[in-house]
């Protein structure tokens, strides 16, 4: 079972306390975009075998959305950070790079 820490209220809990929200940092395309861009936004996901950035909600807690970086093979959680950013914080990227030298980067 995954253990996550909410970066807003600081509470750690089992994954049952949280609700998964899919891939993080999607670039949104709406009216005026090309068919390809809109299709990519709606349906295409990175689905990596390795480091994955994703959204979670502290559903049975403070209720806030946040981000997590997790390995989809070992289930190791590298860290969590608030939802109001468009890319992961530099120190988290460094932490992941130290643990996964072969990782291609965000």
């Amino acid at each position: 079972m995954l253990l996550l820490t909410c970066p807003h209220c600081g509470v750690s809990g089992d994954e049952t306390e949280f609700a998964p929200g899919g891939e993080a940092h999607l670039k949104r395309f709406g009216p005026g975009s090309s068919d390809g861009e809109f299709e990519t936004y709606l349906f295409y996901r990175r689905n990596p075998k390795g480091v994955h950035f994703e959204r979670w909600r502290h559903a049975f807690g403070c209720g806030k959305w946040f981000h997590a970086a997790r390995c989809t093979v070992t289930m190791e959680v590298f860290g969590t950070y608030p939802a109001d950013v468009t890319e992961p914080p530099a120190e988290l990227v460094e932490t992941i790079r130290a643990k996964r030298p072969e990782w291609e980067g965000f």
């Binding site: 079972m1 994954e15 998964p20 899919g22 349906f43 689905n47 075998k49 093979v73």
Partner: protein, 414 residues
Amino acid sequence: MKRYSAFAIAKEALGYHVGWERAWGNPEPKPEYEVVIVGAGGHGLATAYYLAKNHGITNVVVLEKGWLGGGNTGRNTTIIRSNYLQDPSAEIFELSRRLYEDLSQKLNFNIMFSPRGVLMLAQTEHELRAWERTAHANRLFGIESEMVTPERIKRIVPIINIEGPRYPVLGGLWQARGGTARHDAVAWGYARAASDLGVDIIQQCEVTGIDRDEHGVTGVRTSRGAIRCKKLCIVVAGHSGVLADMAGFRLPVESVPLQALVSEPIKPCIDCVVMANTVHGYMSQSDKGELVIGGGADGYNAYTQRGSFQHVEETVRALTETFPMISRLRMLRQWGGIVDMTGDRSPIISKTPVPGIFINCGWGTGGFKAIPGSGWAMAGLVAKGEDPVAGPFSLDRFTEGRMIDESVAAAVAH
């Protein structure tokens, strides 16, 4: 290939069983093939078999990084049904179910197809209406399926609790010619028959890269050397995204773990498959007497082949409510498989942006039942460049908004 028969068993019994030959060959990879199929699961092996059988293309190799049928083919709950809502789904799943009927005879391998009936419970008014709609759609399409009353359900499955308390059974969708088959035997049967037709099957050979030039695919690099090819089929379920990445394109799939478990063996108590989608669990009994139980997929991406603990509890809780007599059974084994989910919960059988590369993926949580039809359609697509059954499942349906929306039809995994 020596044929399997009662006579062959009697003859071998007299000769101390030393005359049985290998079921399928174990060749060294050749430097070049016309078609390379990555993934020796049911879908890959069925594709190879129908390429050889229906289209006469036998210069084919099936590459498998692990062992044959060791992925989702050997991890599912073996349910076969075709009562789908959308026409393209109904067509491919019914083709599949029909092919299953005499597959043992066609392959000369007992796949233990058991058309014991599949019952899908309706436990809310919404579900009741949805199944009624599906039953009408099935009737229009010519698929045998019907709505049954709670009283009839109790006669079909005496161990069921139709009175709730949370979700009383209001009715059900019954497909009498649905059922189960031995999943390993489906892979083994296709492997043996394909091998007999001249297809090479190479296990423990992992694809590490895909070579292409400006005209399309030229070959694959593997842990046992490079293999050139004219056409490449990627049939690897949960790892489709990894292979697509090697080939340089992306797929609209996400990989999540789906779990199943079996109980200790008990005497026969349920002679059909019951699916309870509202409480989310499904159950049948194997010939060994184990109750085969399936449940929910994880809500987030992973490649772990194990899944989250709470899903085991949720599934078992749902089923003890539906079948109170199983509440004291102990569970013997639990496992997970990585399923590849598309946005509309329908599969992809398609050409790809790279000429010469074909993809068969996105079967999500319901691929086993589709193995024969999927292989049939994929073989047609690879051999002739188009196939009437595969057509609607092309990759460009996501660009065109031409969804085959089974996620709405089934409301859950199917």
